[in-house]
């Protein structure tokens, strides 16, 4: 197409959007340049930002996978997912406190037998929490969502919001409204130091490592097993899958169970990292994980992982890199603004998310 014709076909909105995009990029580049030039933070600081972002991001990613799995198969947003995360973390609090009382979470160093027991206990906590969360998720699906399977799409969405409140206040009734501090696993507070002042805390290693293993396990499950194949088939075309002899209800329940298990595991990792649980704790991570899922392309499994990690890192590095150099005071306060601005920008320029498929409406 010759340039003149292309220019004539250029819609005025495209021009304005292009200017908006370019100015955002210019501001970001200028801010980053100023920050880096000032030399306020050195390499070890940036490394700490990155690790903190990766840690937080891998928790977002695990929760985001639950949103994306359910969306992929049912085309609905399960807004109660943050509460499924809370349910696992808070129930596991009792097991963790009990095991901690027996000394199972105490060790001098990770290399010893006691250290191996600590890691084993953490795996046990993750499994237990995953179990609780998937039970909650499956019951939720059976009671609240399955009866509405044929209803217009808005109705399960509103139900999900109602279920979210119901679960939140049930948890408040069960566990009280105060903070429940998780036992401190002191051996995980150790730093793993590399040369040149670079270091990473053991709990961050555990969180990132566990999240990575769980994500690999999920991919293996979805791609490599018959149930995983059934899930993909139902996601693609529910009626056709049913005609091929797949038990659709059962497959959907499995999806909720898998998503719930990941959220439960994320709950334990979150509690290990931050040591506080409270009935309201799932709300913000749930919202952020939803953002991450949309950012990566909702319905897309690698997209949710990427979106989660991306969001975590953007939140952690963004304020200090982009805003500090612009002379904005207390930039960390604006990290949510950065996260959601990024979401809006991605949705403007790539409405289906970073890895989302381009769905052609014209076809």
């Amino acid at each position: 197409m010759p340039w003149s014709r292309r220019l004539r076909r250029l819609h005025p909105t495209d021009v304005i959007m292009g200017i908006v995009g370019a100015s955002v990029i210019a501001v970001v580049l200028y801010g980053s340049y100023e920050t880096l030039r000032s030399g306020r933070y050195d390499g070890t600081d940036w490394f700490s930002f990155l690790v903190a972002g990766l840690t937080q991001g891998s928790i977002y990613a695990l929760i985001a996978l639950g949103y994306t799995l359910v969306y992929g198969i049912l085309r609905m947003i399960n807004f109660a997912h943050g509460e499924i995360f809370t349910a696992g973390a808070m129930t596991t609090f009792y097991l963790a406190t009990w095991l901690s009382g027996k000394g199972w979470l105490t060790a001098d160093r990770l290399g010893s037998a006691a250290g191996a027991r600590v890691l084993g206990t953490i795996v046990l906590l993750i499994v237990f929490s995953a179990l609780i969360s998937s039970i909650v998720a499956v019951v939720l699906e059976r009671v609240a969502y399955r009866p509405l399977r044929g209803a217009p799409r808005l109705i399960p969405l509103i139900t999900a919001i109602g279920a979210s409140f119901f679960l939140q206040y049930t948890l408040r009734g069960l566990y009280g409204s105060g903070i429940r501090p998780y036992p401190d696993v002191s051996v995980l507070n150790r730093e793993l130091t590399f040369g040149g002042g670079y270091s990473i805390a053991m709990d961050e290693v555990v969180v990132i490592g566990s999240a990575f293993v769980l994500m690999l396990a999920l991919v293996a499950f979805v791609q490599g097993t018959r149930t995983g194949m059934a899930m993909r088939a139902v996601a693609e075309d529910r009626q056709a899958a049913a005609l091929m002899g797949i038990d659709v209800d059962r497959t959907i329940a499995t999806t909720f169970a898998v998503g719930g298990a990941l959220a439960g595991a994320a709950g334990v990792l979150y509690a290990l990292l931050f040591r506080q649980t409270q009935f309201f704790m799932g709300f913000i991570p749930g919202l952020k994980a939803f953002t991450a899922a949309v950012l990566g392309g909702i319905g897309n499994i690698p997209g949710a992982m990427l979106g989660g990690l991306f969001l975590g890192i953007a939140e952690s590095i963004g304020p200090f890199l982009f805003l500090e150099g612009l002379g904005i005071p207390s930039p960390n306060q604006l990290k949510d603004a950065i996260a959601f601005t990024m979401l809006v920008l991605v949705l403007i320029f790539r409405p289906t998310g970073i890895l989302g498929e381009r769905v052609s409406k014209r076809a």
């Binding site: 959007m17 600081d45 105060g178 903070i179 270091s199 991570p285 939140e315 005071p329 207390s330 809006v344």
Partner: protein, 470 residues
Amino acid sequence: MRSIRWLSLLMAIVLLGGVVVACSSDDEPEDTGSDVEQVDDSTNADDGEMDDEDADEDDDVAEGDVEDVDGEEMDEDMAGGMSVEDVMADSLGVIELGPDDPIEIGAMFVLSGPNESLGVDSRDGVELAIDTIGDLLGHQVVLTAEDSQCSPEGGQTAATRLAADENLVGVIGTNCSGAAEPAIPIVCDAGMVMISPSNTAPKLTASDRPASFGCYLRTAHNDLFQGRVAADFAYTEQGLRKAATIHDGSPYAEELQNVFALRFQELGGEITAQEAVNVNDTDMAPVLTAIAATEPDVIYYPIFTAEGGFVTAQARDTAGLEDVTLMGADGLFSADFVDAAGEAATGMFLSGPFVGDSDLYDDFLLALEDKYGRGPLSGFHAHAYDATMMLLNAAVAAAAVTEDGGLVIGRQALRDALYATTSYEGLTGSLTCDEQGDCATGEALAVFEITADVAADPEGTWPPGTVYQP
């Protein structure tokens, strides 16, 4: 296709609009504030006259009642020395109670969530004051407590609910200054008075506060004082020279860290960073890393329980901050916070309400133990007790007994009586209210240290020992 494009343009415009609003919002409240003041100058003048007329009378009455209320029965004509006709002519309206109607007071505190113990502790103080006072002029006193949370929305909801009750004499609350801001105009418009036992934000009683704040008083210390004490302690007592601060965007935290920073610089210290976190944040590692890069000797973060717990626990894990001195303020002054922070809280300093030893306070603690089987949960129970006592005394001063044994209480007279409180001997010392509503004594503040014992068993050892008193 075209509509989608226009939609995305719309989104961009909304986004830009949001940025513009966010950037300019700082100026707006001030503008409206000054408008309100101008409009209300005339009404203020009226109030001033009334004050002059009644001030002498009220002074006597207020002092007289302090002694009477302690348990002796009161004669009917002791009820403030006002006639029924006087009371009925009250400019703000009258509360009329039948012979069997109770005197109702409202309370709004944080009764759920991470700062729960702050609110429950204050409610304990109010309830014990009501127990102590027993019958008032032959009427029972009942309490309606609402959960105002620690948020503006919570304060607004609680105040709206309480203001709907026409018989309510006054409101004790809130805990958080952020919740108080929207609540005060609602309570004041309903003609009631509001006394807070734990709001400390300076602007609530600043000389340029809007006229719609005219019914508000507090028994808690002002942060202009608290921030100064904290800075003096850090600089002079501890010999620290470089400080960083963190706030959470709430009016309380933002103003307090600012007062601290100004005083610290005035003393000759250096402020290396003034950072902020958001309420509900959990991951403090980035902000702490940024602070560590400025190498402070002390981090001062006058925020609340949940975020304070995260900051404390994660500060100890941040490279470069292992040995830095940590300091908080009264928003963190509860066993819940130490629970949340865990062992990392060891060695931390908190400025907070302090009640000196007195027989009155010993009796209070015994009564508390008796009623709830535990000690105080946080630090503002004594302030809440004093606030309730002052409110009830003022209610008596503004009341008259009707022929059928009922009670009428004048709202403006009640307000005047409260503002005229002089040398009221309460648990927190001798309270005198100024015309802006600050009634705190200035004695009831100290710096506490969280020792290893306290960190190991916060509930059992609360409150911690003091290390510094101004």
